[in-house]
Symmetry: C2
Subunit: 473 residues, 2 copies
Amino acid sequence: MLNPLTNDFVEKLSAMLPDKALRLATPADVEEPRGRYIGLGTHVATPSTVEEVSKIITACNAARIGVIPFGGGTGLVGGQVAPQGPLPLILSLERMTQIRATYPQENVLIAEAGAILANVQSAAQAVDRLFPLSLASEGSCRIGGNLATNAGGLNVLRYGNTRDLCLGLEVVLPSGQIWNGLTRLRKDNTGFDLRNLMIGSEGALGVITAAALKLYPRPAENGTGVFVVEDPTAALALLNLAQTIAPSEVSAFELIHKTGLEFLSEKLPDVRQPFENKPEWMVLIDLGTARGRDPDALLERLFEEGHAAGLISDGAIAQNEAQRRQFWEVRERIPQANKAIGSIVSHDVSLPLGSIAAFVTEGLARLAKLGDMRVNCFGHLGDGNLHFNAFPARGRDRHEYDAIRDDIQRCVHDLVSEMGGSISAEHGIGRLKAKDLAHYGDPGKLAAMRAIKTALDPNGIMNPGAVIGSLNV
Amino acid sequence: MLNPLTNDFVEKLSAMLPDKALRLATPADVEEPRGRYIGLGTHVATPSTVEEVSKIITACNAARIGVIPFGGGTGLVGGQVAPQGPLPLILSLERMTQIRATYPQENVLIAEAGAILANVQSAAQAVDRLFPLSLASEGSCRIGGNLATNAGGLNVLRYGNTRDLCLGLEVVLPSGQIWNGLTRLRKDNTGFDLRNLMIGSEGALGVITAAALKLYPRPAENGTGVFVVEDPTAALALLNLAQTIAPSEVSAFELIHKTGLEFLSEKLPDVRQPFENKPEWMVLIDLGTARGRDPDALLERLFEEGHAAGLISDGAIAQNEAQRRQFWEVRERIPQANKAIGSIVSHDVSLPLGSIAAFVTEGLARLAKLGDMRVNCFGHLGDGNLHFNAFPARGRDRHEYDAIRDDIQRCVHDLVSEMGGSISAEHGIGRLKAKDLAHYGDPGKLAAMRAIKTALDPNGIMNPGAVIGSLNV
């Protein structure tokens, strides 16, 4: 059993840490973006070195006090807030924000876990390199949180998830021991892959304090096109075609449904839409090309070949950077429109690429049986990642659906599970989906996860309640 | 403590398995390529389904009998042979060789662990796709072994190590429980990353029985060039230049030292060398380009810009496929020439890219102090992976160096460790480097590895003695 944080313990911590390394929690420390959880009011430790983190974790482990690692607080599954249980300590990385070093010739950058993602991007840009991780909250999320949740975002198709962008880690293990795995190596086969085990473990196996990150050459030019497609099947065929015309240059391939465009018109009418008549389905394609490769010429070729193959009925290619921003705004502001409409329930699922079309058809049919609702289906088609979100019918309120909210979610997740998909493609498990993981997860994997958690964190102090629930409940 | 395999146990196994699922070990099952170890003569189980693997592991776990998973037997660190300890069972995947399915539109293929790598490549080619893993033993190594050792090879620079080519796994855990993680998903954030934990664990945490593998569009064209460079510093600068001219199209960037060219002349004079005067250093560059991109034009541009920048003094671009093969033969037959010369000791190390030049200079200087020897330094420069192998001076025999063999290895590994490198870049730990890992490994990582091993395999049955030594010794 965990013990609650006490004033005595806080004083003890305070005595072993420098000034300012402990403070009371503010609302920003205990609220999360979707407002589903309010964390317990408690103390926040704000260490500035890995040694301080080690001291804090060692003390918490000895006293069996829970620790909630905290990055930018932008997670969408409640991994960063503990609304119940014995009072934990919040461990915020907010003062570990240094870019420790950049190695442009090696395409490597070393950042502390508290560095804001946008600052990591800027540090890469300052040495004429690209750090490709990009997502809506990049102005406030921290790289440690991105790593802990294996964040996805807009460039996964080309550059991979966050785990694919990491070469090495510095981690404080639940015992308080420091693992210095901050290598810049592209190849290292010395033992079990602790790096990937820590990445995506959502703070349940240790605290990431720094990372060696991969950089890339900056594309010489970018081009963006929007194309009208008949359905997700045509969209997938178009993706395959794009990958033969510009392999390794397709950096985003986003699917957008008419519902999203309608939400934009309804709630954000200032967003300029690319087609006068809203198409049932459209895709947004972004290319980042090598020196001497004209992205617009490639997009034109894609349009011509896609049109000839019957995959595309209409399209537009951005003629300048302003228009490119305009096209992207359509995709990027859909979440904001969704929020303004007010979803009944949202889903972050992934499917095998070949099953997406069937999933959409079947998913819409099954949801229609549950009630009159609108579904906004959009997402990173190239990664098989859809946000399949249910909204009230026009004129109705989301709370009218409270009684069937869980049924809707179960319906979608059951279908995802039947089709070999994932109930959490890029947001993680956190607290929101811990029960779903227990329900849908493979028993062999769950058994292994529990064994690993118990082995590395026998007292269950790290982010108790997250991912696999609490060991001590 | 493990128990030895007994006739009683073999009979018990035999009764629960179909005919032909057990046989006596042949020399091929207990010898490894470098002849360092001879495994104990024992029985070999040859299951043909994951359920049979599960039965075998369950029985061995209950009886505390060691299991040596066996793929193609081509590993170079003794991971596949148990020369001592209680008699284990060899579990060969030789009958699980099916390509279960291909999904060309998804760029996914599902193979059983016993599929020969070359057959996986062919299955991909048959659906007009590329499975990029390529290494010297591809005609006999098996994909399960490639995964268990996270094999590297020739295309890592562009496509990553084996772990980067895997989407999902089917694994029998040490308890005998099956983990069905054979997903085709590009994004899946449901819990700890068991997939990467299994990949590279060298059979010490479970038996991989099948894998969902990533395919890629086949490059439209390939081009190969050989360029003379002053030293490794110039080679690295040239790599950076190549990546601005053809980002994501450089599939190999191999460094070759004069010693390797001399070994070829001495032992394999039929290999045609690209330069009349053997250069001190040369690089081989391979490009695989998109439709409409002429690789030779890109290589010419690279030569011109590299020459203008003072990085290249001479070069040649293959004019046809025969010449391409000829250039590649220089690189690919160096290991054979090495073998004919007879190394004192070989090293599979990686360094941060920016430290390679300093490593080579310092490494040669330190070895020169130990004795009169030749060093053949070659490898995958783009990955920071060097094979830095020591050979007897001309006219001397390798056995004259037996007394300083360990000193040479220690000298090289000490330097690698000082410079933040890895003592095993792509071959793994196996039995050969288990003591080195214990010596050079980060204490935090080693503690975590031991905890994980104990948690997943409390009886220590899986590949006892490999990677982290035996738990029971």
